[in-house]
Amino acid sequence: MAAEETHHVAKTFMDHLPVLQVVIPLFAAPIIVFIGKRSLAWPIAFAASAAAFVISCILLIQVLDGGFISYHVGGWAPPLGIEYRIDAANALVLALISGIGTVVLPYAYESVKAEIPKKNHTLFYACFMLCFTGLLGMVATGDAFNVFVFLEISSLSTYVLVAQGANHNKRALTAAYDYLIMGTIGATFFIIGLAMLYMATGTLNMADLADRIADEGTNRTIRAAFAFIVVGMGLKVAIYPLHHWLPNAYTFAPSAVSVFLAATATKAAIYVLLRFMFSVFNPSFVFEEWTLYIVFIPFSLLAMFAASFVAVFQTNIKRMLAYSSIAQIGYMLLGIAMLNATGLSATLVHLVNHGVTKAALFMGVGAMMLYSGSAFFNNLNGLGRKMPLTGAAMVASGLSLIGVPGTAGFISKWVLVQAAFENGWWIIAIAIMLSSLLAVIYVWRMFEVLYLTAPDPQSTAKEAPLAMLVPMWVLAIACIWFGFDTELTLGSARVAADGLLAGSAGMAH
């Protein structure tokens, strides 16, 4: 560093954005605990997430031309130091995560009041901030081991957040425990993969890894590393046969947590999977040599049909939405397996669209649970009529989940099917459509319960408080908005997909 000292140029605020994005919420968590005042916890958390959201938007705008921003944490140039590397792919996911976080917090204000004992509020918001930080950190970083560290921050806080549902139903505890076991196995698989990669290349920086794998070709160690990383992250993503932790975790978590997790946690993991598959390992290596077609396509099809089918038979809306999430993850994986720019942009755009849609739906259910006490269909009878604004928001987002034209979900489906046709996969295209029909069935069941059944005469339900309605409607309007104006979502997804498909060349310094 001695050489650099003489011509050190002072960094400005704008230069620090990539790291500030993560550090601001990271700072917020201990501040909340340190101050320890219940009344200040929420404002601090909200301010931090709003700041992160603004920063992520600025970053996204900066990288939309296809370039990238590299930030050297600690002043050490990669591959020695840890690098933050923002390109269109992770800027998009960062914007999604921070956006959802910012929208969820006002909602959480009311819902946490109702669901979590007062004495735990301060710690709850601190934990929420840590989860937020972890997700942002694992997406922003360009260092493979740093992914693991931030993955664990988000995972550990998630387990705790899920367990907070125990005040309501004790099964939240076992759900959190199962998630902890599965999550830890996943994370350990991930570091086994990293160990093998490190053994074969001697580096941990993603760009450097990509270069060295591209230069030296693959061997059995690298292939095994790939398998372990995919399975490890697959556990976090809830790829179909590895999804068992997800339904219980989403069902029994407090409403605000379900909203946040459903919209962001699996999405961040999918991003990491994409980053490794396309940027670190060469796409041609990943797919031709590994014939992932044979692995990814069957499992994603299985997810699309089996999980949707299971969702149809649920009596609890939250669990139904959880299974629907597993099915939707199938669509995203299918987009990856298409291995063309359109398919990859379908994955990325669906990642955003589905995040927004699912968050809105979980918010609606959470608002209704304030009065119904549970998310069982029978307890929600006719609530759509008693809570017209909540119900309308759920209709809008439910339509987006089906993929009705004019909604965000339609755009994802369109692009995905287009990608299938570009590859000449007629059967897959029809399969996508058929599986989305299952979504029609389960979403429509929800609508019927909300609108066409007689409400419980003793129900005291009234419209949800404003603090819940506004976030819900922001997301519901986003569901519609992204169905018409795709400049932001699909536009960035296309840039990101091109960057990812460029493979290691896209990571070059």
Binding site: V33, G74, K119, C127, S157, T201
Partner: protein, 185 residues
């Protein structure tokens, strides 16, 4: 050569301990064996030149986590119930994973090979950097706190997360239990 024998001896003991853990159903013994496992692994780390890691593993694995586990079994139960159903699935999972791992080892460089990529690519630069730029004798400290200081910040955040997680699950913030009980009442 003597190193190899020590290592093999340690390995044998580790494997023995691990199998004993599988077999035993008294949780107290399991926890103690788990502590033993950690201590043995710490010894192995010393043999592999990782003194910092050995120190940590001894403090954490044999110390803190044993204490916590003892605390937990005091609060829960002291024996494991034998499972009535035995499924071949776990065994298959383990077998497949193991096979994948063994497959991965085939192209690994030999153990201790100074020409392995891991020794050739970045390690010399770290050693050099610690010597010249940072001027700190313990290279592990240099990398931990400076080169990869951000990882360590993350690590601190993980510890912090665990701390507030346990507080959220088992007690509350700030007060002592008695005060809380009064508030609840």
């Amino acid at each position: 050569m003597i190193e190899t024998f020590i290592e093999i001896g340690l390995f044998a003991m580790l494997v023995f301990t691990a199998f004993a853990i599988v077999k035993t159903d008294r949780l107290f013994a399991v926890v103690m064996l788990s502590g033993v496992f950690s201590l043995l692994s710490a010894l192995l780390f010393v043999a592999l030149d990782a003194v910092d890691v050995a120190f940590t593993e001894a403090a954490v694995g044999a110390g803190i986590s044993t204490v916590l586990m003892l605390g937990t079994i005091a609060l829960t139960s002291r024996t494991e119930k034998k499972s009535s159903i035995s499924s071949p699935l776990p065994f298959i999972v383990v077998l497949i994973t193991g096979a994948a791992l063994v497959y991965g080892t085939i192209d690994m460089p030999n153990f201790g090979d100074p020409m392995a990529p891991a020794q050739q690519h970045l390690a010399p630069e770290f050693l050099q950097g610690s010597l010249e730029d940072v001027e700190i004798a313990n290279v592990v400290t240099t990398i931990l706190a400076s080169y990869r200081g951000y990882d360590t910040l993350g690590e601190t955040a993980v510890v912090f997360t665990a701390g507030i997680g346990v507080l959220l699950l088992l007690s509350g913030l700030g007060r002592r239990r008695k005060d809380e009980d009064e508030e609840d009442a």
